[in-house]
Symmetry: C2
Subunit: 345 residues, 2 copies
Amino acid sequence: MTMTGTDGRGAVALLDHTRTVVNPHLRSTVESLPGSIRRVAMYHLGWERADGTPDTGQAGKAIRPALVLAAAEALGGDPAQAVRAAAAVELAHNFTLLHDDIVDEDPTRRHRPTAWTVFGIPDALVAGDAMLALALRLLAEDDHRASSAASARLAACVIELCAGQQADCAFERRDPYEVSLDECVAMATAKTGALLGCACALGALYAGAGEEEVAAMDAFGREAGLAFQLIDDLIGIWGDPGRTGKPAGADLAAHKKSLPVVAALGSDTAAGAELAELYRRPVLDEEAVQRATDAVERAGGRDWAQTQAADRMARAVQQLSRAVPDLSAAGDLLALAEFVTRRSR
Amino acid sequence: MTMTGTDGRGAVALLDHTRTVVNPHLRSTVESLPGSIRRVAMYHLGWERADGTPDTGQAGKAIRPALVLAAAEALGGDPAQAVRAAAAVELAHNFTLLHDDIVDEDPTRRHRPTAWTVFGIPDALVAGDAMLALALRLLAEDDHRASSAASARLAACVIELCAGQQADCAFERRDPYEVSLDECVAMATAKTGALLGCACALGALYAGAGEEEVAAMDAFGREAGLAFQLIDDLIGIWGDPGRTGKPAGADLAAHKKSLPVVAALGSDTAAGAELAELYRRPVLDEEAVQRATDAVERAGGRDWAQTQAADRMARAVQQLSRAVPDLSAAGDLLALAEFVTRRSR
């Protein structure tokens, strides 16, 4: 497994560059939205405060648009022509965040109150709808020859994201024992992998790539996305070593059925049974969270997730080499994949 | 103003025919949705009961798909080629209904419990998202040469629908005196006129019509849509004479700021002031509803709405004749416009 040893600096520069290139386009598009919807979108994207005054604009890391541009470039395309597609993917991503926050009743996002808590559910819901329509409108209005195929692909991806979100909600309502690991992996693939895969596929389409290269690029993004989810889940239990981020145990205290937890619950071990027992308690105190953490580890959940994450990254690189046989041309994509799975900043 | 004297029978036959042609396509498309999302969509569209068993399928009158097909035919196109576009418009319409019912907290739709009351807000919200994506995917996957333009137009229309819904919610929160008639007409145009206009415009695009004809067709649908809204608002106050439908006074009892009400409130008359006074009461009993009904009439709200509706229909026909100079070729469109504004069945 070849990896660019950039220590994340290459990826950070790439993401900075992506924001510089894509944000002006994204912003002028969002500013075209009708009055009140624009306000919610500008707030959600970090460009405005709740009162409409300018904000610093910390609107996410732009990983998905960066994947679009990097995939286009890796396949010999001109990334400048894919800027609209990159903006569309970022809009689609933010539509899902707006609606997920409503559905999950999340109070904060990117260290700020979520849009629905500021503007109410009706306005946040409708603004999300408009952002989805805007994403697909951007592609439909693009006169690049790949725009129809890109449009169809993004729309299909949104349906998959919806299915993933729906499955996630359904899992939370079910008994810990009832959710199988396969179901959970499928849910994470739909909810997290699909849009990363779609971003790479759109870049490939805009480079004029053939069906097989597009499919390989999609698979690369999906596998990297699942690796990212596995590592995110590990951090949700054991914390982000040496970094500010989620506190250790946060996901367990919230009874989250993350991948390592579901792996542990399905392990048919005494530790798995102990974890299930703990998850049936309505509230887990600090000591119980510690016991649950140990139980996930003893039941093999941590090892499984770590092995899976490495395996998924290996598969991602394998898929990438199908699309770009000379991987030295795909350095940016590898740097981005490494960045998301390291979550180093 | 020429009108086909079909007594609505022509339109009913047209709508029956539209459902026969479009529903199989619509249904197979909806059946392609992932499991739980499909269930919500199938329920909302009246094809399944809440328990997943088959239902009779009374899923709306198919006015919008009928407009797509009739507009295509009126401009010399082949309606058979526009079936996919017709299905897309019906999906987009149903996406708005699903989300509007959540936002407005409506308990019933088409004499059945609304989807969010049956499946919960998260599942209904996500199913609506998927139906919007499916609508735009249908167009993007269509290899008709008009599909990109149709896609862009439908996406732009959805943004307008969102703005209309957002304005509607904002009006309900404001004081009766604060909403101007112009704002209210703009809201109704966005919320009701836009999609009827878009349906006609898509038909025109699929017939290979030029920009001006497409714009005229859009304007025809919009004007007819506003006429429909005005008449619907009149029925909401004075009832549907001789028909089963909304009971007289229903909109007033609900404090609805419908078009005749806003016209009356802005009339600068004693009756208008009396109406505003009544609307400030938290609950209106039968006698108060009767007084409010009289006040709308004395303040000129009824006359204004009736005159406006007739005027809008005249403008609709005028716009139609710009697109189809020989109106005898547009008999189906006229019959549909007459049907929606008569609300006879």
